[in-house]
Structures are given as structure tokens and as C-alpha cells.
């Protein structure tokens, strides 16, 4: 008797917790509302099954408690019931899978007008690069990385010259414009994750991975590393600032291109040599 009541309280408590929880997702700031909606749908269907199964179990505990003079039913199989349950489950699962796959299809197909943002990760920090006026990022190689070439851009690649180097762990994005995040790592696995955007993907050394989203809320957001990357993992943070077009373009104008950066270092070198000679 007591057992049934406690189990019942656990189920009721779970439902109440879900309704009144102060802990739930952050306000969404990207186009991936479909993910939230699929979660909600899964909550209804899955939560319904969970509650139904548990309530049925609790009913049995109350109703069929052991009595010496009673016998259980003897019925090894019920083909019809098993068939109904199999098909009902298959249908329910398919109903959850369908929206999941549809949204995944959007997730892996990047819109043509998306602006590319090259995110480079290392232990333990982030750097960003944007394509210049030609709209194309220059090719890179880990072995080229140096103080005057933080992304390892191939010096012979004409597309690389006008690439915009953001020397900060904060990147600015234009509101309502899709971005394709290109992820690279120079050492170990990382993952560039902003909870409000919902999306994420690992950065894997030796390859370039990607995902996309469209920020739709102006504001500042924190970037978390979501793939364990060594002792500094928990402290590996960055930032995103989503701005309106005018603000964004003003910010963009202040950034240095790869050519300018190289020139600056050359000047530094020349100055340095002069100093050394003196």
C-alpha cells in the first residue's frame, strides 16, 4: 500500500516539477526554434508514455497485491494486444523522428547568403576571421601559424590578403543574417557553443567542420566550450555581440585585414632591427 502511494507521489512530483521548474531553457536568440518545438513535442509524447506506464504500474501494485487465496491470471501471450502496442509505438516514434529529421535537413544545408565566420580554437581560447571584400576566405595551414599570421593563411593565396582578422575572443555578428560557422582547431577537440543559439559542433584538429544559424536578437552572449579539451576546458570562454546592420558595419570597418596585420608586423620588425642596430 505504502509503496504504491510513494510511487504515485514521485510521478505527481515529477509532473509538478516540470510545470513549475524555474530551470528551463534560455530565451532563444536564433532561428532554431524548431529544435525547441521538437523538444516540447517529445515532452508531450514521451512524458505521456512515462506517466501512463508508471500509473498503470501503480494501479497494478494497488489492485493486485498478494493474497494467499488468489491466483494470478495464466495467459502466456496475447498476440493481438502485442500487435496493437507494437504499431502504436512505431507510429509514435515515427511522429517524433519526422520533425527531428526535417530540422536536421535544415541544419546541414547552409543558406547561400550565409556569411562565413572562421572560428579557430586552441587550448584555451578563440580567435575569429571573416572574409574580406572578395567574400572568400584564404586557405590555411597549421604549419604557417606564427605571430604575424595567427590563422596560418597561405601567403601566396590572393583570397587571404583581405581576410579580416578579429584579434579578440569576442566576435560581432549582424542581426538577422545567417552565419556559417567554420570550426578549426590547432590542437585538440573544442566546441563553440552559445546556449541561446541552440546550435553547436565540435572543432576537430586536422579538418574543418561547420554549422549555421541566424541570430535574431541584438545583444551580448557568452561562448562556452562544449567539448572537453583538457584542464582549462571550464575556463575556455568567448563572446558574441549581435548588432544591427549599421553598428555591425561600423565595427567591421575598424578591423584589420591580413595584409594590414602583416605590414604592421613587418614595420615592427624593421623598427626592432633599427633599435637593435642603435
Amino acid at each position: 500500500m505504502h509503496a504504491g502511494i510513494i510511487f504515485l507521489l514521485v510521478i505527481v512530483g515529477s509532473i509538478l516539477f516540470h510545470i513549475f521548474t524555474p530551470w528551463y531553457w534560455t530565451d532563444i536568440a536564433s532561428n532554431w526554434k524548431g529544435m525547441d518545438d521538437t523538444i516540447t513535442l517529445t515532452f508531450w509524447v514521451g512524458g505521456g508514455v512515462f506517466v501512463a506506464v508508471c500509473l498503470f504500474m501503480i494501479y497494478c501494485v494497488f489492485r493486485y497485491q498478494h493474497k494467499e487465496d488468489r491466483r494470478a491470471e495464466y495467459k502466456p501471450e496475447d498476440k493481438k494486444l502485442e500487435k496493437i502496442l507494437t504499431w502504436a509505438t512505431t507510429f509514435g516514434v515515427a511522429a517524433l523522428l519526422a520533425p527531428g529529421l526535417i530540422i536536421w535537413n535544415q541544419y546541414v544545408n547552409v543558406p547561400k547568403n550565409a556569411i562565413e565566420v572562421d572560428v579557430m580554437a586552441w587550448q584555451w581560447g578563440w580567435q575569429y576571421r571573416l572574409p574580406g571584400k572578395d567574400g572568400k576566405l584564404g586557405t590555411t595551414q597549421v604549419r604557417n601559424i606564427a605571430d604575424n599570421n595567427p590563422f596560418g593563411i597561405n601567403p601566396d593565396d590572393p583570397f587571404g590578403k583581405d581576410d579580416i582578422m578579429v584579434e579578440s575572443d569576442v566576435i560581432n555578428l549582424e542581426n538577422n543574417r545567417p552565419v556559417k560557422i567554420l570550426l578549426r582547431s590547432v590542437d585538440v577537440l573544442h566546441n563553440w557553443y552559445v546556449p541561446q543559439f541552440r546550435a553547436k559542433m565540435d572543432a576537430v584538429p586536422g579538418t574543418v567542420t561547420f554549422y549555421w544559424f541566424e541570430p535574431n536578437k541584438v545583444g551580448e552572449y557568452e561562448v562556452l566550450c562544449a567539448e572537453y579539451c583538457g584542464v582549462g576546458h571550464y575556463a575556455m570562454r568567448g563572446g558574441v555581440e549581435v548588432q544591427d546592420k549599421a553598428d555591425y558595419e561600423a565595427w567591421l570597418g575598424e578591423q584589420e585585414t591580413f595584409e594590414q596585420l602583416s605590414a604592421r608586423y613587418e614595420k615592427l620588425n624593421v623598427d626592432g632591427n633599427k633599435l637593435a642596430k642603435k
Partner: protein, 612 residues
């Protein structure tokens, strides 16, 4: 080979059959059981204390050895989890703990609990003890190899524990051991620690293969007369299928461990691309970190079912015995176990949706993953339909079973979130994942283990565990564990990432502080409650009530041994002969509410028993 003579009613009795029958009044027609094709197994009986209790070849002793060693590792894993929860809930009290320590504890806790505790306990512990007894064999078919299997496991555990004491400490790479970080500076224990881990895992796989061969061949070849495959208890089906999975999955782990060892020691580049560290390009190039993830999860996902399938089987038997009702849909249950086992080899990359693998894989693996939900759901339905119209004893064993159903369904449902590729994107690498897999492959199998301990303790020790203490143990564990992991899902919704040494100070995460304190307190209590069981066992061994033979009135063969606890050889002079499945409970017309597997049809001729 199992069914061909079941349906054939026209067998003629052979004279030797009548002589061999277990009772004097054998009806030659309906009681016919095909004679054994092989002779009796010759057993090596121990000659000394060491042969009896240390290097023992009796599967029952080996089972207990496995059990105790696994429990030892489990206690270590438990203490590590306490230390982690101390850091997460009350960092001001955990000043001694650095980030290095924390990640080492995370890693060792995960690896210990999954491999050295759960896998060894279910297959090495319950498998060894129960398989020969339940299929009616005198012992495993290769007792000597079985003994080696345990000692190989023992050495693997010793090597693993030794890594706590080497310079740099144990590896802190996370239990998934993802390269490249696993073997690079910046990850704790990237020197000796990771090497010992890889060696220990390799030893575990070797030892496990020796045991696994035994479990499989014993089940396939050493069943007693009349024990067809479709008359085996579901416990045996679960352990059998899990063993097959393990034999196919562990090689992938062994291979990846060997490759990673080579990457570490000889600077090969199986998994290592060009890497820039501290301004210098390392001597690696061209390897693929994602290749390791594929190999790891090709092992790692079946591994989940290596733990879950024996739990499914055992809980089916416990529910049936204590609800006094046949397991509902036995054949469906068998095919669900086999089907889940087969499907589990086609879902591995659902752990890798956001790993950077080709994103088109997502479609395939989301579909296979959700397909697996169907046979799994069927098993759940059949458990609760077994309760329906049963005659349910609400004892400690049944409580653990009910606790299993609640936690397993809860964890199964959250698996549908994570398996459904695009829903996984926001939730992966957050506390939602932690909550999900602890609920479904931590707490749920643990509930079954506990139920099994209370159920079979009278057989193993000949004494009944204390029910009162057992109820305290259950309720504290169940309510505590549920209140740890149920709210934890919601941390994942906020977006709190896993494997964070310190909780973040972002505004949307500071609200998690209170919950973390609550979860930590619950974790301390649940952990401490496990010592109730240890106390119960010690107390029972000293002063407990003596168990009668077959105290639960079960039908399966392990309760029909010549003595309790069973001796070496299990069944005395004569092996039992099986006439039915183990689930003939509450058969209409029968005198008792159970009919043992050894009861011949002629003895219960007036009952409405269905042919199995």
C-alpha cells in the same frame, strides 16, 4: 535444434529413458525428453584451500570473486563521485581539489562504473553464478579458462588502481578517452596514467574473452536434457546476448587501445593530425581523431546493451517470480533481446552527431536509434503486463523491480530526445546527457543488481537478508537517486555544459547553484545508504534466518540443487531433466501456484498448462 521435437508427439519411449526419469511414475509418452548427446562433464575438484577459494575452477566461486572485485571497484567509483559532487555543490569545502584532480575523478569514475563495475558484475558475477545453475550444467564448459578469466580481470583492476599512484596520476581524459587531448600535455595523466589505463583495458578485454567464450558455449552446448533455447530463463537469454555483443564489440576497444598506445609511445599518427602546441608543431600528422570516436562508440554503444540486456533478463525473472505470474509474451521478450542486441551495432554514431563527422550520417543513425525504441518499449509493456492481474508480493525484491521500471522508462524517454538528431544538438554535451545515461544505464541496472542480490542471496549464502533493512535501503536509494537525476535534466536545458570543474558565473547559470547543492546532498545520502546493504549482508551472515530451499517458490533450476548453497557440480548425482519453461506460475488446476521446470507433464496432467 530446440523446437524440432517439441511439436512431435509421436516419440516412442526408450527403455533407458524410463529408467532415467526423475520420478518412478513416468508416463512414457508425454514425458519423453530426448537423451543427452554427450556424456557427463568431468569436474576437477579442489585439493587445497588455494584451489578451493583462490585459483578456483568452480563457476560459482568465480562468480562470487568477480562480484566482490567488481563491488570493490564500485565503492572506489562511488567515493570518486562523492568528491566530484563535493566540488560541484560545495566548492568552498573542496579547496584541496584542483581541476586536474576533478577531471581525473570524472574519468576514473566513468570508466570504473561502466566497465569494471557494471560489465564485470553482470557478466562475470551473475553470469558465472547463474548460467550453469539455470541451464542445468555442472559447471562452465572450460573451468580452467574461466579461472584465468577472473584472474586476468583481477590484474586489470590492479593495473587500473595502480594508476592512482604513478607520477602525474591517473588519466583525466574523460572515460571516452578522445584523442588528441588524451595523450597530450594539458590533460591530466597524459603520461603514465593513460598508458596504464590502456593496458588495463586490454587486459580486461583478454580476460573477458576467456569468460565470454565460456558463457556462450556453456549456454549453447551444455544445457541439460529438455532445456531447449525457448525454455531458458530470460536471465540466461539476456546474459547470452550480451556476451555475444561483448565478443563482437570489445575487439574494437582493444584495437583502438593498441593504436592509441602506439600513438603515445612510438609517435605513430593513427588518431593524431598536425598539431600546434605552445608554438611548436608536434611530430604528428595525417591521423584522424574522429576515427577513434567511431571505433570507441562501435564498442561503446553495444557496451550500453552489454549492461542493459542482462538487467532486462534478470528483472523479467524477478518480476515474474514475485508477481506469481508468467512473464507476459515470453517469445516477444526473447526476440526483443536478440533484436535490440543486433540493432545496437547500427546506432553507434548517435554519440557523434556534433562530433564533426559527415553530417549526413545523422539521418541514418537517428532512424536506427529510434527504431531500437520499439523493441525496448515492448519489453517495458510486457513487464507491466506481467504485473497486471498478477498476485504481486510487494517485498524488497519487487520494490527494486518497480524502481527499475520507473527509472528505466524515464531514462529511455530522455534517450528519445538525444537520439533524435536535431534535438540532440542543443542538449549534447550538457547535463541532460549526464542525467539521461545515469538514469538509464546507472540507476536502472543498479536497481536490478540490488533486486538480484536480495533475490539470490538465500541461494548463495543460505540465509535470508533482512527485509526491514532492505526496505530502508531501497527507499533511500530510489528516492535519492531519482531526486539527483530527474532535476539534473533541467540543468541541461539551461545549457550547463558537462565536465566543467567550476560552474559558470553567467547569469543564466547562477540559478543552478542551489540545485547543485541539493543534488550533492542527495548524492552523499544515496552513496551512504549503500552501506546499509553491506551491513545487512554482514549481519545476515552472522545471525540471519536460515533460508529454506527455494524460499521464493520459483521454478527455475537454480533453486532445485541438491543442497543450499549448491556444491561443486551443482545437482548431486543426477542432472535435472526439464519439461517446461520456468514461468508456469498460477496455472489453473495446479495444486501450488508454481510448477518447477523439472515437473513432468504426467504429474500435472489435470492442469491447463500450455505447451512450451
Amino acid at each position: 535444434m530446440s523446437d524440432e521435437y517439441d511439436n512431435n508427439k509421436s516419440y516412442q519411449a526408450q527403455s533407458s529413458e524410463v529408467m532415467d526419469g526423475s520420478t518412478g511414475s513416468v508416463n512414457p509418452d508425454i514425458d519423453y525428453v530426448r537423451p543427452s548427446e554427450v556424456g557427463e562433464q568431468e569436474l576437477y575438484h579442489p585439493h587445497s584451500f588455494i584451489e578451493k577459494w583462490v585459483f578456483c575452477q568452480d563457476a560459482k566461486v568465480i562468480g562470487v570473486q568477480y562480484f566482490l572485485t567488481a563491488v570493490f571497484t564500485g565503492v572506489v567509483g562511488l567515493i570518486l563521485s562523492w568528491l566530484m559532487r563535493l566540488q560541484l555543490g560545495f566548492p568552498e569545502l573542496a579547496g584541496f581539489m584542483t581541476a586536474e584532480h576533478y577531471y581525473q575523478f570524472v574519468t576514473m569514475h566513468g570508466m570504473i562504473m561502466v566497465v569494471y563495475f557494471l560489465t564485470a558484475l553482470f557478466l562475470g558475477g551473475f553470469g558465472n553464478y547463474l548460467i550453469p545453475l539455470m541451464v542445468g550444467a555442472r559447471d562452465m564448459v572450460f573451468p580452467y579458462v574461466n579461472m584465468l578469466s577472473f584472474w586476468m580481470f583481477f590484474v586489470a583492476v590492479a593495473v587500473l588502481m595502480a594508476s592512482f599512484f604513478v607520477p602525474g596520476g591517473p588519466t583525466g581524459a574523460g572515460w571516452t578517452l578522445y584523442p588528441p587531448q588524451t595523450i597530450l600535455e594539458g590533460t591530466p595523466g597524459a603520461g603514465m596514467g593513460i598508458l596504464l589505463m590502456l593496458i588495463s583495458l586490454s587486459l580486461f578485454v583478454i580476460g573477458f574473452t576467456m569468460g565470454g567464450l565460456n558463457y556462450m558455449i556453456t549456454i549453447l552446448q551444455a544445457r541439460t536434457r529438455g532445456m531447449t533455447l525457448m525454455r531458458m530463463p530470460l536471465t540466461v537469454w539476456g546474459i547470452f546476448t550480451a556476451t555475444v555483443l561483448a565478443m563482437l564489440a570489445f575487439p574494437a576497444l582493444l584495437v583502438s587501445a593498441i593504436m592509441m598506445t602506439l600513438d603515445k609511445v612510438l609517435q605513430t599518427s593513427f588518431f593524431m593530425p598536425t598539431i600546434l602546441k605552445a608554438g611548436e608543431v608536434l611530430e604528428y600528422g595525417g591521423g584522424s581523431p574522429i576515427l577513434f570516436q567511431h571505433l570507441f562508440w562501435f564498442f561503446g554503444h553495444p557496451e550500453v546493451y552489454i549492461v542493459a540486456l542482462p538487467a532486462f533478463g534478470i528483472v523479467s525473472d524477478l518480476i515474474s517470480v514475485h508477481a506469481r505470474k508468467n512473464i507476459f509474451g515470453y517469445r516477444m521478450m526473447v526476440w526483443a533481446i536478440v533484436g535490440i542486441g543486433a540493432l545496437s551495432f547500427f546506432v553507434w554514431a548517435h554519440h557523434m552527431y556534433v562530433s564533426g563527422m559527415n553530417p549526413w550520417f545523422g539521418f541514418f543513425f537517428a532512424t536506427t536509434t529510434l527504431i531500437i525504441a520499439v523493441p525496448t518499449a515492448m519489453k517495458v509493456y510486457n513487464w507491466i503486463l506481467t504485473l497486471w492481474r498478477g498476485n504481486i508480493r510487494i517485498n524488497v525484491v519487487m520494490l527494486w523491480c518497480l524502481g527499475f521500471i520507473v527509472t528505466f522508462v524515464n531514462g529511455g524517454i530522455t534517450g528519445i530526445f538525444l537520439g533524435n538528431v536535431s534535438v540532440d544538438v542543443p542538449l549534447s554535451d550538457t547535463y541532460f546527457v549526464i542525467a539521461h545515461f545515469h538514469m538509464v544505464m546507472g540507476i536502472a541496472p543498479l536497481m536490478v543488481i540490488m533486486g538480484a542480490v536480495y533475490h539470490w542471496f538465500p541461494l548463495v549464502a543460505g540465509k535470508m537478508l533482512d527485509e526491514g533493512l532492505g526496505k530502508w535501503h531501497f527507499w533511500i536509494t530510489f528516492l535519492g537517486a531519482y531526486s539527483i537525476y530527474f532535476p539534473m535534466h533541467y540543468l541541461g536545458f539551461i545549457g550547463v555544459p558537462r565536465r566543467y570543474f567550476e560552474m559558470y558565473d553567467s547569469p543564466y547559470m547562477t540559478s543552478a547553484v542551489g540545485m547543485n547543492e541539493f543534488i550533492s546532498i542527495a548524492a552523499f545520502i544515496v552513496g551512504a545508504a549503500q552501506f546499509i546493504l553491506i551491513f545487512n549482508i554482514i549481519k545476515t551472515l552472522k545471525t540471519g534466518k536460515k533460508a529454506e530451499q527455494n524460499p521464493w517458490k520459483a521454478n527455475s533450476l537454480e533453486w532445485y540443487t541438491s543442497s543450499v548453497p549448491p556444491e561443486h557440480g551443482n545437482f548431486g548425482d543426477r542432472l535435472p531433466v526439464v519439461h517446461r519453461w520456468p514461468y508456469d506460475f498460477s496455472v489453473p488446476g495446479a495444486k501450488e501456484d508454481y510448477i518447477p521446470q523439472t515437473t513432468a507433464p504426467s504429474e500435472v496432467i489435470h492442469t491447463e498448462v500450455e505447451k512450451t
